[in-house]
Structure formats: C-alpha cells, structure tokens
Subunit: 302 residues, 2 copies
C-alpha cells in the first residue's frame, strides 16, 4: 500500500492555511516527495511522517513556489540523523539550481544524487521501488509531469514451490524477485510467481496548459493530482497567458484518461474558498476532489 | 511611534506554531525587517501589515534559519506592486548570497540596494528615518547585532517662530529639519526647535555568545530582543559549543545595559514550552518577556 498526501496546495505564495505546493508518498517506510515550496517542512511536521526517510525529491520546475522550501528541508533531514544519500530528480539545470540555493546550507551529513531529465518526450527511472516517469509540459519555463508507479509481482504459487522442492526459508527471496541457489540448482521468481498484478499509479501535473500527451501519460492512474490555479472558466485567458489550467481542464483530462480519482491543487491566492467550485470539476468528472493541505489517503493494491 | 513585532521566534527549523526568526518594525508606513527565516511571509500575512512597504531588510548572518524565507518574500513584495528599491543590509558577502538565492527569482519589479557592513566594531547607516548601527558578534560564521534608532527633534518653539516672523505655512518644513527661505532670509530648524528629545531605540541580538561590547551597544534600549536558544543553565556547554546564549545570559545583558524591556526569541525546537522558563530570566531582569510569534507592541516617544 502507498500512503499519499498533499503537504501544500497553494500556488505563488504561502498562506496561513494553505502552504505552497508539495506532494509526498510513503511506501514501506521510504518517502518520495514532488515539489517543495516554502513551509513544506512545517506541513510535514504537522503530518508526523518524520524527515529522516525522504529518499527522493522530484521537482516539476524551478519556479520559487515549487522549490523555496527545499534548502530548509535538507537541513532538517540532516538534523534528523539522515546519512543515506538523497536522490533529486528534475529538469535540466537541477544540479546548478540546487548548488546555488545551498549557499546557505553548504554542509550536509548526506550525499545528494542528481537525476537530470533529458528532453525525450517520455522516459523512466527506477529508485528503490518507485518507478518514476515524466512528460514535458507547457509552462513559462521547462516543466515536467510525473507518474509514480509501484509495480506488483505475481502471486506466489505454493504448489509450484513445493513441486520444485524449494525450501520454505528461500520463498521470501523469490517473492522479492531475488535468485535462490539450492543444492546447486538456480531458482528464479518466474518459476513460482503468477502473472504480474496491477500495481499503483499516481500522477502529478503542475504547472502547465493541457498538452496533447497528458491523458495518455496519466491513463488509468489510481490518483491523478492536477493543478487548477483558476476555478472559474471565465479565467481562461489568464490561464492561457500564465500557462496554467482551469478546474474544468483538469477534470476533462481526468475523464479522458479514465483515472480513478482526481485531486485538484495549486490554487491561486485569490481563490479564497476553492471547495466552493467543486461542482465545476464534478460536472465533468465525478470523482473529483478539491485538495487541501494534508489531505491524505492510502492506496491499496487491488 | 514605532510598531514592533516578532514574526517568528524559532531557531533551526520552523514549527507549526513557531516560525523561524524574524523581526519587523513599522514607522510612518515604512517597514524595516531583521532576518527572514522560512515562513516569515506566512506570519506577516497573519499580522496584516502588507508586503508592499518593506523598505529595508537587515540580516544578522547567512545561516539558513535567518534567510530561507527571503526569496519568497521578495516575490510576494513584487506581486504586491512594489516598485521602489528595497535596501538590504548585512555582513560581507550579502550581495553574493542574495544573488545565489535569486536563481529561483531572477526577475523583480524593483531594485535591490546592498549595504555590506565592514569589519569596524561599531558603525551606523541611516535609511529614511531608521538609524541602523551594528556590532560584530561571536558566532560560528560572521554575525552582527543591530540597533535601530529613531531620533526625535526638539520641540517646536512657537514664540521663537513668531519672533522671527516665519510664516506658519513654513513651520512644518522646519519641524522636519528642512531649510526655509522667506523674504530672502534663510531659516533653519535649529532656530525654532528646542533640544533634541529622546528617541526610540530597539536592539536585536541573535546568534552569539555574550560579547564584551554588547551591553554598551544595547544600552538604554526601549526594547532589547535577544536570543535564548537554551532556557536552562544546564545547557551552558551546548550554548558554548554552538555559540548561542542561555535565557540567563540574555537577562544579565539586559540588566547590565539598563534596557526597558527584554524579549527572548530564537528558541531551540527541543524547547517545547519556552514560557515555562520565564522565571529564569525574570529572576535576573524583571521586565523580561518570553517572545512568541506575532507578539506586538507600540513603542511611544516619551
């Protein structure tokens, strides 16, 4: 199972009850974050998941409202006894931006490992159990959407394992796709696991205009998190000018992509009560939720 | 009169109910800030003084908990229609640090004017009505204390102005220390103002061990804001190691310097309820206050 949470749901500036955009998910004690605006660590403190096990931070782009909380978070992770390397994923320029910001945090007790994304339309890296793919978006500066996939092995077939005389002490290794050698014979997981089962897919898209490949990229997500800087369709011209999306545009993508659930996020500071506009989204895609800080859910393997 | 407020009273990391260290004061609509840790702008939003008129930001030093909220604040000031230059004051390296941090905020609608402090023991600059002096402290990196002085002219002597036949329409100029020419004669404020009256002095000291010149530097302050990272005297070794102060050390300086009031700030995250240790300070200096976020006061000219 994968715990997911929106740590912040605001765009542009942090507000007392709406911090800047950040998403976090947790799988078997390891955490992956996407974006880290100012006050993200305050929200994470409220959530109570701790700071030590943030293993991966992905950045959609380098506008301040998506990264201004990052340096403080690094220091807090260090003060929380983190010593393992932290993986950073983001568009080209990531290492240079991070090194500039670290002028006020030059010393850390852990290493940073950079994964700069190339310009291919759609690609993938795997870190621990997180399969991370991305898609180029259309914003004022280079920006990517992310899809986080947690794959799930096939079911362990006990009768096959018994027939092959594999000792029970080795079963767990095969379940984790590890190789087992017993009495000189090599056993691999494909000998005892059934067909691969459906995993969990979470997609995250902000900041962008709707782009052509987006519905395919987020298709069948268990959860699709998408920006809705503007709630009202009358703000279309502003959305086009500043390269953002309307609630209705996010909902159309959710519908087209047959996702299970849509969470809207990244609201304009001028949008005082985004939840009042819920029906703008649900009229198009029923399973829409207007996000709020620390909205949390546990996604299960089906 | 001068409105003063502690926007944040935390050291090291921002907490849900205690943001990072920042002080702000307001005089005739103009604002001066000292330090700007993460979430400072959230606290300022709560306070409701606005973002447009932050004219001066002074930095004590460049540890992240004193500057990590600065770039976001710059952008918010820009989005609040600020176009006038903003003055930045801080130790040597200020411009380089600020320019590094601005990698995520390269464009602003206003100019930044840098005032890098030299290594003299005690000096002063004046920006608008704020007279800013500083003192080198003893921390792990170069760090300064600030003293903000608002001077007050002598009382306007109506009988002198009448005797000199100065027209009433020119009185306000003389009150503001401006020169007046009337019927070919030059009149200056010293002709009509009494002796200079006591102004307002606010001093701010964090992060440091107690240094020799500090009591003289903060002497007779109407308000002395001083760090107390550790409340308990048993933490003396830690205070010495990390170059910080105890509540009792701050209170001793307040007493020695004959200040009117002491506000403690910059508490360790491990200090859950700093107010429980109030007596540690009041036992030494009675008019001690354990600060909290958005503690506010209006200091009057006496």
């Amino acid at each position: 199972m994968l715990d997911v949470c929106l740590l912040g749901t605001g765009g542009m500036m942090p507000l007392p009850k709406r911090f800047l955009t950040s998403f976090i998910c947790r799988l078997n004690g390891k955490m992956l974050m996407i974006d880290c605006g100012e006050s993200t660590q305050v929200s994470l403190k409220m959530l109570g998941w701790g700071f030590k096990n943030i293993d991966i931070i992905c950045f959609t782009h380098f506008h301040a409202d998506h990264i201004s909380g990052f340096v403080g978070l690094l220091l807090t992770a260090g003060n929380s006894s983190r010593t393992e390397p932290m993986h950073l994923v983001g568009p080209k320029g990531l290492e240079s931006v991070v090194n500039s910001l670290r002028v006020i945090a030059p010393e850390l007790p852990f290493e940073l490992i950079f994964h700069e994304l190339d310009n291919s339309i759609n690609s993938e890296i795997r870190i621990d159990e997180f399969e991370i793919s991305w898609l180029q978006l259309e914003h004022r500066i280079p920006c990517v959407a992310y899809s986080i996939n947690i794959s799930r092995s096939g079911k362990f077939d006990v009768s096959k394992a018994l027939n092959l005389n594999i000792p029970k002490s080795s079963w767990s290794k095969l379940q984790k796709n590890e190789k087992v050698i017993h009495n000189g014979k090599v056993y691999t997981s494909d000998m005892v696991l059934g067909e691969q089962r459906k995993g969990i897919k979470v997609s995250y898209c902000t900041d962008s205009r709707p782009v052509q490949g987006l519905p395919d990229f987020v298709r069948n997500s268990d959860l699709f998190i998408c920006e809705g800087l503007y709630a009202d369709d009358e703000k279309l011209n502003k959305a086009i000018e500043y390269k953002h999306m309307l609630f209705s545009e996010a909902a159309k993508i959710a519908k087209q992509a047959s996702v299970s659930e849509l969470w809207l996020t990244h609201f304009s500071p001028s949008l005082t009560e985004p939840r009042e506009f819920l029906n703008v989204a649900t009229d198009i895609f029923e399973n829409s939720v207007v996000g709020y800080d620390r909205i949390t859910k546990t996604l299960l393997f089906n």
